[in-house]
């Protein structure tokens, strides 16, 4: 597996987003974006793709960094997984995302891999996707003629296919400030840490006087794209999340997902374990929303 020799390509390193989108518009499908490269370089070595141009976006300051604001937090597309994993702001406000960043990949990968790369590769199992879906994230997209912002759920079109059209780049993810008494949790089932997960689940729960007022459940690698389990979410509203309620929701999830058998895992395993991890994530998110110390 893998080759020693990469095919030839032209390497470009723009210094601004405007320059980047001009290049993307000019070169279209012949160009690939290089950020951390932990997935791109593998695709190149395995000869899955052969771009003529690599556009290195790591030198563009405006694409990086976590900016906390009163109403929302903005995460630049080239923010590394390591930065997310280490961010106190992210862990406190958006725990599920912090947990995903901590659980995914290896030390070496987290050093350079980016949230933008994880999302734009649009794998069904992308680790940052379920937490972001559960946290109501939005995707900021830019092209030469202007920008657009869409809910993250609309960003995933199909397996490996994002909503980006030629000439567009993901510039940032924005997450609204959490309501009071919000708790979230993420669980990854590894085959190995350096690969995509076998499956994953994230849950966000908002409570008032121990009753759930809103909830989001999102899963990875159990459908063609990262998905929400909207029917299961409805079963939690206005309820205390006791064992019975949580188990009912977890069971509902198994009816909503459409897992496949792949080399990483079987459809049966994914369906069965989805119920388990949704249950665990809900219990943890509920505890956190009520201010219990996280275990």
């Amino acid at each position: 597996m893998g080759t020693r020799v990469l095919r030839d390509f032209e390497y470009l390193k723009p210094i601004s987003v405007d320059e980047t989108v001009s290049l993307l518009e000019r070169y279209g499908n012949e160009a690939s974006i290089l950020a951390g490269g932990t997935d791109l370089l593998v695709s190149l070595k395995l000869l899955r793709i052969s771009p003529k141009y690599l556009i290195d976006i790591t030198g563009i300051g405006e694409l990086g960094g976590v900016t906390g604001g009163e109403n929302e937090t903005r995460i630049g597309a080239t923010t590394t997984i390591k930065e997310l994993a280490r961010s106190v702001l992210i862990y406190e406000k958006y725990t599920a995302l912090g947990e995903a960043a901590q659980q995914m990949g290896t030390t070496q990968m987290r050093q350079v891999a980016t949230i933008g790369g994880n999302l734009c590769r649009a794998s069904a199992g992308a680790d940052t996707a379920p937490p972001l879906l559960a946290l109501k994230a939005r995707a900021e997209i830019y092209r030469r003629t202007g920008g657009r912002t869409i809910p993250l759920a609309e960003f995933f079109i199909g397996p490996g296919q994002s909503a980006l059209t030629p000439g567009e780049i993901l510039t940032a993810i924005t997450i609204p400030a959490p309501a009071p008494h919000t708790g979230s949790s993420f669980i990854r089932i590894n085959g190995t840490v350096s690969e995509l997960p076998q499956l994953s689940a994230a849950a966000t729960v908002v409570t008032e006087n121990d009753q759930c007022t809103s909830a989001r459940i999102a899963l990875g690698a159990v459908a063609p794209t990262p998905v929400r389990a909207r029917q299961a979410e409805k079963l939690l509203i206005s309820k205390e999340l006791n064992r019975e309620v949580v188990e009912a929701a977890a069971h509902k999830v198994t009816e909503e997902i459409s897992p496949r058998t792949s080399f990483r895992s079987s459809a049966d395993y994914r369906r069965d374990v989805a119920a388990v991890i949704v249950k665990r994530a809900l219990i943890k998110a509920y505890e956190r929303s009520r201010g219990a110390p996280s275990g």
Binding site: R7, Y11, K13, L41, V42
Partner: protein, 162 residues
């Protein structure tokens, strides 16, 4: 296409003409003759190609040479420049943490980065940090013991935890 980059390796800065499709690993081994860094999986998963880039563990096989320009690269050769082994290297030898040696360079450099930020890690913290470094020979127990012993020797922390 060629471009000239300045590469700083083990404290020395050199100007090299590199092709865009050359990896840092290619440059280290084939151009600079620093063969202590190994080609394992070629896809950034096994850790055998780990070097430090600005002190951080980096998979050189999936790092383009052009991406490494401007960074301080440390290879295993840079740990014992005058022949005197680093405490981490000594403990690996002493504790039987080396069998075939192929994973060793990567492990030692990753361990060096770990101890720089966490001078007194627990075995769990060590295992978590080095999980991007795979070993087929030793079963990891001696590796964790060696890193723990090196941490104690480097002595920047408190007394050993139980």
């Amino acid at each position: 296409m060629d471009r000239v980059i300045d590469l700083t390796v083990n404290g020395q800065t050199i100007s090299l003409g590199v092709k865009a499709n050359e990896t840092l690993l290619d440059i280290l081994r084939d151009r600079l003759g620093l063969t202590g860094t190994k080609y394992g999986c070629g896809t950034g998963r096994c850790g055998a190609c780990t070097v430090l880039a600005d002190g951080q563990p980096t998979s050189s096989c999936i790092t383009l040479a052009v991406s490494a320009a401007g960074k301080e690269i440390t290879t295993i050769e840079g740990l014992a420049p005058d022949g005197k082994l680093h405490p981490i290297q000594e403990e690996f030898i002493k504790r039987g943490a080396i069998q075939c040696g192929f994973c060793t360079s990567g492990f030692i450099l990753t361990a060096k980065a770990l101890l720089a930020e966490n001078p007194n890690p627990t075995p769990e913290e060590i295992r978590r940090y080095v999980r991007g470094n795979l070993c087929r020979c030793t079963g990891y127990v001696k590796i964790v013991e060696a890193i723990t012993a090196a941490a104690q020797r480097l002595g920047k922390g408190q007394e050993a935890r139980k």
